[in-house]
């Protein structure tokens, strides 16, 4: 085994609780150091998710005087302590678990407005992008980005967020439908874009097995349209294509 491969083993040991559970005394961590390595793994995960929660649930954070809660509080709870013994840092599954903890924690707070549940859905979807570094599978056919998700809202979230940032009241006039696509590029850049039904249909038709022609047929558009849309979705990480110029 090369030195680089040994280093990868150490990184896996720290990032993946299941590796630690299988090999509590496994190489290259000596038995005398295994407990300290586990402590460090917990430190890394708690730090990682605290940071991602703070970045993602920042609008609900602005309302903490009304709600009495912030998302980061969940990393100090007993449920999170249990999660530390099971998590794989950066995986979609771990991000979903922590995101659900935060959403449930905040949903139990006094609601500052009828739009509160949708704001939490928005922040949860953003958190999935921020906390998922797991690479997307590179398949022969277009596939969705591992954390990419398309959500329909009954409130106009983009305008709502501007008002929350400015401390302006949110009126009923913002109760209009909007569909947002959340994605993350390989470089870690996060996009939230409003999409029309046609682009949403193309995104939803992507399943890792359909060819662009089949995606076009499933979405009810011509192939040229589908190819242009797939290139855009690929650029923002919502879709992964081995050969974007297919």
């Amino acid at each position: 085994m090369t030195n680089r491969a040994v280093q990868d083993e150490v990184i896996r040991y720290l990032a993946d609780a299941s590796v630690r559970a299988q090999r509590p005394r496994g190489a290259p961590i000596s038995s005398g150091e295994a407990a300290k390595a586990a402590q460090f793994a917990h430190f890394l995960a708690r730090r990682y998710y605290r940071d991602r929660l703070a970045r993602s649930f920042r609008y609900s954070h602005r309302l903490r005087m009304q709600t009495g809660r912030i998302a980061e509080e969940v990393v100090d709870g007993t449920e999170f302590d249990r999660f530390l013994t099971e998590c794989v840092m950066g995986s979609l599954e771990s991000a979903q678990r922590v995101g659900e903890m935060a959403r449930a924690h905040l949903a139990a707070a006094p609601q500052p407005g009828p739009w509160w549940p949708e704001l939490l859905d928005y922040e949860y979807a953003y958190f999935l992008q921020a906390a998922t570094s797991e690479p997307s599978p590179r398949l022969e056919q277009p596939t969705r980005g591992v954390s990419a998700v398309c959500l329909r809202f009954t409130w106009r979230l983009p305008q709502m967020l501007l008002r929350l940032r400015a401390g302006v009241a949110i009126g009923d006039e913002l109760q209009q439908e909007a569909t947002l696509l959340f994605s993350r590029t390989r470089e870690g850049r996060i996009y939230v874009v409003e999409v029309e039904p046609q682009l949403e249909n193309i995104f939803l038709a992507v399943d890792g097995s359909r060819t662009p022609e089949q995606i076009a047929a499933a979405a009810g558009v011509v192939v040229e349209q589908a190819l242009r849309a797939l290139a855009v979705l690929n650029a923002i990480g919502a879709v992964v294509m081995v050969n974007p110029a297919h």
Binding site: T2, N3, R4, V6, Q7, D8, V10, I11, R12, L14, A15, D16, A27, P28, I29, S30, E33, K36, A37, Q39, F40, H42, F43, L44, R46, R47, Y48, A54, V88, M89, G90, S133, E134, P135, R186, E187, G188, R189
Partner: protein
């Protein structure tokens, strides 16, 4: 595939231009600075005369309206995540590093002795983590660092990273690894004093004796900072708090052994940092290192 460094720098360069007037880095005495925390930009501009330079851990955000004025007022040091030098940097990472340096134009750029993600990019620790100190890793760091420095066209300094536990397979000590690296590459040493203090603490070593084993003659920049107890580690770790007296004293002790030293930077980068703590930390550092604040020359 390895994780790539973050947002591209080219749009930033296009937005703010590469040729704006910028202040020079202090040459006649030690420059005392801190990190650029965007939420404290307004305070830096109105009360930051005691800050000689700013280290940039992230590119300025697109909506950071203060950054152009910050760049006109403070010399900037590139201290971003440029890439993991245990592996060859991608063309994207090299280009990004060069664009950032063109934006900041500091006298040197910084990276870390770290290896935090797997080669296939599947796992990352998202936090500084040291490599195995072996001949193979030394070769990798030397080759990849040379390529980065050549591509960016700026001197490079490298920062030490502490380990919390020991790993088998090490073929040399950290001080030996660093000494040989600096001799082969000609890079400068960015010595992070809290990191060394922590390493000494967890190895139950005397900090001054431990630090004395490192190649202090290569030091170009010193990081000072605070430590706080962490619940998972059951002991101290770096924190965005005021530097401790002991860490400042160790820094001053290093100054006497570091003829190439040019800058001391308070290592605080956190959205939770307050302006009071930032300015008090810089002032404590100035006092400890015997450097008086100078009137700022604006561009």
């Amino acid at each position: 595939m390895p994780r790539e460094p973050g947002s591209p720098a080219r749009p930033l360069l296009a937005r703010w231009g590469a040729s704006a007037l910028m202040p020079s880095f202090i040459a006649e005495r030690l420059s005392i600075g801190t990190f650029y925390n965007p939420h404290l930009a307004e305070a830096l501009l109105s009360e930051g005369d005691g800050v000689d330079h700013l280290s940039m851990a992230d590119p300025p955000a697109a909506d950071d309206t203060f950054f152009p004025t910050i760049r006109e007022k403070f010399p900037l040091l590139l201290h971003d995540y440029l890439g993991q030098l245990a592996d060859p940097l991608s063309d994207h990472a090299l280009e990004r590093a060069r664009n950032l340096q063109q934006l900041y134009r500091g006298p040197w750029i910084a990276e870390h002795f770290q290896c935090l993600h797997t080669e296939d990019g599947k796992y990352t620790l998202d936090y500084v983590f040291p490599p195995l100190y072996t001949e193979d890793f030394l070769r990798r760091f030397v080759a990849n660092t040379r390529r980065l420095a050549e591509f960016v066209g700026a001197p490079l300094v490298m920062e030490n990273i502490p380990g919390f536990f020991s790993v088998e397979h090490a073929q040399m000590s950290e001080p030996e690894f660093l000494r040989r690296f600096f001799e082969e590459t000609g890079c400068g040493f960015l010595i992070d004093v809290p990191h060394l203090w922590l390493a000494a603490h967890y190895q139950r070593r005397n900090p001054r004796e431990y630090i004395g084993e490192f190649p202090l003659d290569k030091v170009v920049e010193i990081h000072v900072g605070g430590v706080e107890d962490d619940r998972d580690l059951g002991g101290p770790w770096v924190a965005p708090t005021r530097p401790t007296r002991e860490i400042l004293e160790l820094g001053v002790w290093i100054v006497e052994r570091a003829p190439r030293l040019r800058a001391v930077t308070v290592d605080q980068f956190s959205p939770a940092l307050t302006a009071d703590v930032m300015f008090e930390s810089v002032e404590m550092t100035r006092e400890a290192f015997g450097v008086r604040a100078a009137a700022r020359k604006t561009a």
